[in-house]
Symmetry: C2
Subunit: 202 residues, 2 copies
DNA sequence: TCTATTTTGTATCAATCGATACAAAATAGA
DNA sequence: TCTATTTTGTATCGATTGATACAAAATAGA
């Protein structure tokens, strides 16, 4: 009943997310967005109403693709401890693989002026809460397997792991030497109150 | 031999630093800078050559004022342990006092696109290295006072403390609830390998 | 007082910003 | 085939961007 779309929304959001991820909201212009998305601005504004709307959609897309994938692939992995280690180690690995630190769109945005916006803040809160819950769930599984001290305060521990995750992402943009970043990631794992040595840590 | 300056450079950089700190490089326009500095753009460009030049000068000014003050006042305090605790606790306290999280200009900038610039990266490296050295020096004093395990790896520990500092600053922009932030800060201190209880921790 | 030197403001630049009016293009159902 | 509906491109909008040409303003030394 109507003209079909040349690019589906997923494709567009993939491209937009990459752009905002790398450069931030303010530093990304509409002309640059047109090139990356392969659509002229009226077509983009027809679907997303504004640059702000496209950015919010990109944030949600980032959570549903990147964040959710990382949670499923690492933190929810069958072997909880191996997954947790791989989760942190993937950050220096990605920085090495793609020659530039990827950081995290949520962390980047939280430090931009854009974070003052209510809708954006809601997205950021949702995304970071997902990460917290996934870390928490992973730690609970570790505890159930008697790999974590039975009196460990899981909520505090998950909160602190998320804190260190944020710090690692900041460090990855400050210093992209692989060895230094990998050391930092290893230290995060090594200081977990693991009770038994299974060969996965240290 | 020439017309005297209406505002000295320190005043200008104080204002510019506040602006970039709050909003970032890309989101801060020249008209806004004019208002904050109380000078028209030609006078500003006469002193700093470009917006980029003003930003670099602001970064250096931030290191020499904010960062150096925090190191002197907290990390280099006579009582090393109390100073270290106060260093981390000052972040939730400042977020509460000024009703908005201050974060850190160096951390904010490292996640902006601007961080790709070589001159800016050198400033960021200098500032963060200063923090690392101050944390390291504080830990060495703790160890000399037998408050820290004698086999503790000071460099790794200082590196990780800086990592958690970065994480705390990110968290302060994501969630400005004072109690939650204060908990995070307290947890950082509580997990230090302190050997004796002096009343300052736990 | 006059001149050399530096700082500042007026006015404005081309370029780019985010955004839109409008019509052509492309389909599905009648 | 015709029409209703949606998507897309052309062309362009006023506003703002970072930056500058130029002259007035303000001092110190001659």
């Amino acid at each position: 009943m109507a003209r079909p779309r040349q690019q589906d929304t997923k494709q567009l959001l993939d491209a937009a997310t990459q752009l905002f991820w790398r450069q931030g909201f303010a530093a990304t212009g509409t002309r640059e967005i047109e090139l990356a998305l392969g659509l002229k601005s009226p077509a983009i504004y027809h679907r997303f109403h504004s640059k702000h709307g496209l950015f919010c959609a990109s944030l949600r897309h980032y959570i549903e693709s990147v964040i959710d994938w990382r949670i499923r692939h690492y933190l929810d992995a069958e072997d909880a401890l191996t997954g947790l280690c791989a989760f942190f180690e993937s950050i220096p690995q990605n920085a090495k693989r793609f020659q530039q630190p990827s950081s995290c769109l949520l962390v980047n945005t939280s430090l931009e002026r854009a974070s003052a916006d209510e809708e954006i803040q809601a997205c950021l809160h949702e995304g970071t809460h997902k990460i917290f819950l996934a870390l928490r769930s992973n730690l609970l599984r570790l505890q159930a397997q008697h790999l974590l001290a039975p009196n460990a305060k899981i909520d505090q521990l998950a909160d602190n792991l998320q804190l260190q995750l944020f710090g690692l992402l900041v460090s990855s943009r400050l210093n992209n030497e692989h060895h230094s970043l990998a050391d930092k990631a290893r230290h995060i794992i090594a200081t977990l109150p693991i009770t038994a040595t299974t060969g996965a840590n240290e």
